[in-house]
């Protein structure tokens, strides 16, 4: 499934559908696995009546975790040197997310990609970068 960075050229794009119609249960599942049980993510009553949000919403790290799939599906896990980004909009139950990875630069020691995740309204919810070490055998 993963490919050598030698197969890619600058400007190449990889698109991955991350989730359709995000469920509250999925957010709860992430809370359990990650250990972040903030009721803003897990407790509709608290999120709406106390905190004033329209509903619970996803952990930023759930969005980033799902987004990481487009990196690991493309390059595997072992050669990732860095992965990071900004949370630019909240993700709510019912949202559908798509990640797009773009190859920005290929150097002798590493490949740099940008990764942008958008919701069904084409709003950017996560925007970041990853560096992949060029230590794979040719």
């Amino acid at each position: 499934m993963s490919r050598s960075i030698h197969d890619l050229t600058v400007g190449d794009i990889v698109e991955l559908r991350l989730v359709d119609d995000l469920k509250r249960t999925t957010i709860v599942q992430y809370a359990g696995a990650s250990g972040d049980f903030n009721p803003l993510h897990t407790d509709e009553v608290f999120a709406t009546e106390v905190a004033g949000y329209p509903s619970v919403f996803a952990h930023g790290m759930l969005t980033m975790g799902m987004t990481g799939r487009v990196v690991t599906d493309t390059f595997g896990v072992d050669s990732i040197a860095s992965f990071g980004g900004r949370f630019t909009a909240q993700v709510f139950p019912g949202d559908s997310l798509t990640a797009v990875l773009t190859v920005d630069a290929i150097d002798t020691d590493a490949t740099t990609v940008s990764v942008v995740t958008r919701n069904q309204r084409d709003e950017v919810v996560f925007s970041g970068h990853a560096r992949i070490r060029a230590d794979q055998p040719t």
Partner: protein, 163 residues
Amino acid sequence: MGAENFYVEAGHIMMFARSIGDENPAFDPTRTDPSTVVAPPTFVQSSAHFDPDYYLRPKIGASGWFGSGGTPSGTQPDVGGESTGGRQGGGLHAEQHFEYHRPVVPGAALTARVSDGETWEKQSSRGGTLVFRERITEYVDRNGDAVVTARSVGVQVIEDGAS
């Protein structure tokens, strides 16, 4: 999320991968050689489970959880001075960055050391001041070797007129 003993386990990696919708067999000891399992890139976030003081986990026997129970707000405890993350003046996660030095694999026992980074402010376009706080978490193994460096940025909105 500081932790002295963040035990990395294959079953936890599998559950974490499921929660992010990732079916990559590399994260699942039931579908690959368990000795080859590695953690997905954001897995170290789950070190929260191993932070004894992590304020976003209900504590056994403690009465102070701020989620709904008999009332929508629970018991409104003191949560250690940290934000509850909501519009009650709390903070939200603005950025997250990881640098990977060594693979995170089952059997590792990592130590997570947290330090404060920079703090800066910005005017919000919706009014108020945005206060950004950076925290650095260094994950090291039993040999003291760096495994992952995490940098998170939280943002808090200070309404105009509030002090």
